[in-house]
Structures are given as C-alpha cells and as structure tokens.
C-alpha cells in the first residue's frame, strides 16, 4: 500500500499533507503529555519495532508470501497516538533510505497507514471489546476484526485517492495525467485483494503477536486499560457529516459514473466498463429514490451504513458473550 510518487497529483499530496500537519502536531503534543519529554526518545525503539513488523513474511496459498503493516496492533499495544508517530517514523525511513513509497506521497501514505489505520483500528477494537467484555476470546475477535477492517479502510482510502486522479487531472486531449483508472476500477482493483488476502494476513499476524504478549506479559498492553470511548463516536459522527464532501469532490456521487460521463471525462470507455456488470445494490449510487436532495440522500446513506455496522458489531459481541 506504499504509494510511490507520480501516481498521485502534487495537489492531492499537498492537500493530504496539509491535513497531516495538524494531526502530527496534536498527536505529538498528546504523546509528549502522556510520556514526558525525557522519555520521548524511547519512541525510537518502538519505531524500529514498527519498521521490523513489516519485514516478516508469512506464507500464503500458492507459494507466495505477504506481510502485515501492524498499525492496528501497535495502536492496541501502545495506544493510537504512539502508533501514529512510530508508523510515521517507520514510513519516513522507508521513503528516505529505501525508496519505498514516494517523498511527495509520504503525506498520503502517512494519512492512510499512520493515521486512518491505527485510529480506526484502535477505536473499532475498543468498541467491540466494550460490548464483548474483557475476556480472551472477545479480545482476540475484537483485534482480528479491527485489524481486518482498518487495513481495508486504509486500502479504500488509497483506492479513492487513485480513483479521483483521472477525474481531476487530465491533459488537454482529455487523457489522464496521473493514475489512469477511475474509482469504478481502482476500488475493485485495490479492495478485492485486500478483502480476500491482505486483510486476513494483517488480522492473523496481529492476533498471533497479541496472544503471545498477553500470555507472557499482559500488563504491557495499552488497549486493555479502561479509557473513555467518546473520540470513537465523535470520529464516526464527523465522518458522517463529512461524507457529503464526497459529492463535492466529484460531480457525481463517489464517481460512480455512467459510461457517457466516463467518455466525457476520459475520452474513452475502459474496455471492462463498456460491457461490464452492474449489480443492484440496496441504495444504488448512494441516492435514495424519492429523496431529491443529493447531499441529504448521501448523508442518510452514510448514517444507515454506520448504523448497520454498529448493529452487526453488537450482534457479534452478543454471540461472543454467550
């Protein structure tokens, strides 16, 4: 998921860089308060640990191997704020010393893997744990789901970042200048492998490490300390409020364009989409029939989505408790 330079336009990188700077400042202040200035250098050791997690390969069917990112695990072990800093440092070293992930795209990679992933993962973990209760099976299921979902959230963000490039940045002849695949292609291309394989690798690695640490040294786990959960709800509400921005970013909701719009935007219809398949989802294109205001319909879809996710989590938790 390390995006190299030149797949995203410089302005995309600048926008996410501008979003990352205040996040870094807030996170750094929070960590400084939590662990005092003198103790700050120990973050270096955990950054080294974050860096090394990504080096471990685990076998996959078909003789290949894959590796985890570990951001959710680090958030659960050390808290999401520390995870944000350590993953940022690990990504910076990868970009500067090894050329993994671009220099300009560094802010985008940090947004996906050092911000979205640990924070989403941590709060999903806490949410499930709160309803499932503090038992071993509940913890492991919570971590498994949190790792799986948060990795897919990060992959989804990357897919959108790729997918908006051809809408926003075209040459005069109408051909895409950066990543050429629109959202209709970039989302399945990114999400199918992440949903089927990479997410499972992430979840399995997290659970394996967590169960070892909790067996040997349970008091080392940060996510087991009771803490207020308000930020989680705040974040979800914030995302629901923000979701209509998806409409502003592209003319049509989330870039789910018809072929005619695609021809206008791209100057051609991608082969796969000319014939393609269309599946009828519950709320096609996030526009609810008979609600004319697009923004309103979008916000409703977002809230319904969140509600469905909440209810399913609680149902799972109930099942675990039993």
């Amino acid at each position: 998921m390390h995006i190299p330079d030149n797949y995203l336009s410089p302005s995309t990188c600048a926008v996410l860089g501008a979003a990352m700077v205040p996040i870094w400042v807030v996170v750094f202040r929070k960590v400084k308060k939590e662990i005092t200035l003198q103790k700050l250098p120990v973050l270096g050791i955990f950054s080294a640990f974050s860096f090394l997690i990504m080096m471990f390969n685990i076998p996959l069917p078909g003789g290949t191997t894959g590796h985890a990112i570990g951001a959710t695990l680090i958030a659960v072990l050390m808290g999401p704020f520390v995870a944000c800093i350590t993953v940022t440092v690990a990504l910076l070293i990868q970009a500067l010393f090894f050329g993994d992930g671009g220099i300009l795209a560094f802010s985008v990679n940090c947004f996906n893997m050092a911000f979205l992933m640990p924070f989403a993962g941590y709060y999903i973990y806490r949410l499930i744990k709160n309803v499932a209760g503090n038992n071993k099976a509940g913890n492991l299921v919570a971590l498994f789901l949190a790792s799986y979902v948060s990795l897919n959230i990060a992959a989804f963000a990357a897919a959108i970042q790729f997918g908006i490039q051809p809408i926003l940045f075209r040459s005069q002849s109408g051909l895409p200048l950066y990543a050429p695949y629109p959202i209709g292609i970039s989302i399945p291309a990114m999400m199918i492998p992440h949903l089927l394989v990479v997410g499972l690798v992430e979840a399995l690695v997290s659970v394996g490490i967590y169960s070892y640490v909790s067996r040997i040294n349970p008091e080392m786990i940060h996510g087991d300390k009771p803490s207020r959960l308000k930020p989680a709800y705040a974040m979800i509400v914030f995302m629901v409020i923000l979701s209509p921005l998806g409409l502003l970013a592209s003319g049509t909701a989330w870039g789910e364009w018809g072929n005619e719009e695609l021809r206008k935007m791209l100057g051609y219809i991608p082969i796969g989409m000319g014939k393609g398949f269309s599946f009828g989802s519950l709320i096609p294109g996030y526009a609810i029939p008979s609600i004319n205001n697009e923004v309103m319909a979008y916000a409703i879809s977002a809230m319904l989505g969140v509600a469905i996710i909440f209810i399913s989590f609680k149902a799972i938790a109930l099942y675990i408790k039993k």
Binding site: P4, D5, N6, Y7, S9, C13, F28, T36, L37, Q38, K39, L40, P41, V42, L43, G44, I45, F46, S47, A48, F49, F51, L52, I53, M55, F56, N57, I58, P59, G63, T65, I85, V89, A90, I93, L96, F97, F98, G99, I103, L104, S171, L175, L177, P180, Y181, V205, V207, G208, I209, Y210, S211, Y212, V213, I216, N217, M220, Y268, I271, G272
Partner: protein
Amino acid sequence: MHDWLLKKDEYRPAPDRIFFIDKSMLSIVSRISRLKREERSSTSFFYTLNPGLKFLTTVALVIVISFLRDFSSVVLLFSYFLLSLALIDISEIKKIIGVAVFAFISSAVILTPSVLMGNFLNSLIICIKVVSTVMAVNIFAYTTKNQDVTRSIKTLRVPDILILVFDITIKYIVVVGDIAVNMLNSLKIRSIGKNDHKVASLGNIIGFLFIKSKKFSEDIYSSMLCRGFNGEYTVKESSAGFGLYDYIYIVVNTLLIAGVLI
C-alpha cells in the same frame, strides 16, 4: 540380533515450507546491512556535497518532476538523474539500477491496460517519472551518511527531539533486527522434519520482539537519565559549510529547474 536392527532405515522427512522464513530473514538482513554500512570515504562529487543542500535539492527535483506534463522535459530530467547516477561508485550504481528497473517493470505492468486503451504517451511519462524519482531518492540515500540523512530533515524545521527519535530508530532497527534474525534462524534449524507450527511461531517471535523492545526502551531511558538527559537535544546542522562542489551543484540545479519550468 533383531531383524529390524539390520534393516536400512528409510526415513524421509516430508518436505517442509521454510521459504517464508528465508524470505523474512533476507528482507531483515538486507535492510540491516544497509543501515549498518561503514562510513564511506569516497571523495567523489556526490559524496562530498552538503547533505542539507542535497536533500532540499532532491525534494525540489521530485516536486518539479511531478508537475511536468511535457514529454521532453521529463526525459531531460531523467537524463540528468542518469548522469548523476554515473558520477557515483559502481557498486552503488548496480544496486540503484536494480531498484529502478524493478520500479519500471511494476509501473509498466500496472499501466498496461491503460496503454491498451490508447493512453500511451501519458503512461510512458508516468513510468519515466517513477523511475526518475526512485533514482533521485536512491542517489541521495546511497551517497549520504546515515546520520546526515536524519540530520538533513532538520532543514524542514522538524523538532530536534524527533530527529533524536529517528537516530535511535535507525540504531535499534539494527539491534532488534539482529535478534529477529537469530530467532528466525533458530526456528529454522530447530525444526526437525515437518513442523506445521512454524507459522504460529512467527507470532511468538514478533511478540517476543515487542517485549524485548519494551525492555530496551526502559534501559535506554535509565541510561540517558544517568547521563543527564533532560529532554533537550540540539542537532547541529551539518558542520561542513559550502564548498566549490556545492556551488556548482546549486548553479546546475537552478539552471535545470529554471530550464524545465520556463
């Protein structure tokens, strides 16, 4: 004497999958060796440039190239990076070309459908841009000492205490990575015959690394406290001032950037 004692033993262990252990070891070792490398003594052009200047110029060139839309300017910058590459040591040229070729092939694979749909020129431009950026960053990384790489981010006004964190990270990637390699090695040689629990042991190894890291962090904290560390840390900008090479570098790059932008 019993019959079975005279029979030839036919023990053939079932084939075992150890590929993932070797691969993990290889990726850790290759990273560690890169971070552990000896301080270089080369006195050729790129190695003696002021690291802060080199860093800022590299970032500027990466930004410029990402804005370019015109094929000839992209090729001009690509040739410039190739020329820069030619000025460094051959052992490093080999490694950087390896990385660049890999970057080119993977970009070409990703962009093939787009090329087939008629978007040839822009796809080619993206490929060349990706390769150029990879070369630029690697030239910087290979010709700069580790401590200077972390120090050069000071030019971006990063707080000193964070630079200290980077320095410690780089040192401890080597220390913790060494432990990881040793444990992977013992996992490999202590499994006799077919061992299906190897993958599960991987979780234990990383879990152990976490506990070990926690111990290291307590140790380093105590030792820093003993030596009078009070949370303040000042990073000196690279002691080397600007020399003749630095001025040549500034002039060439200014001309180049002005040339492609105008």
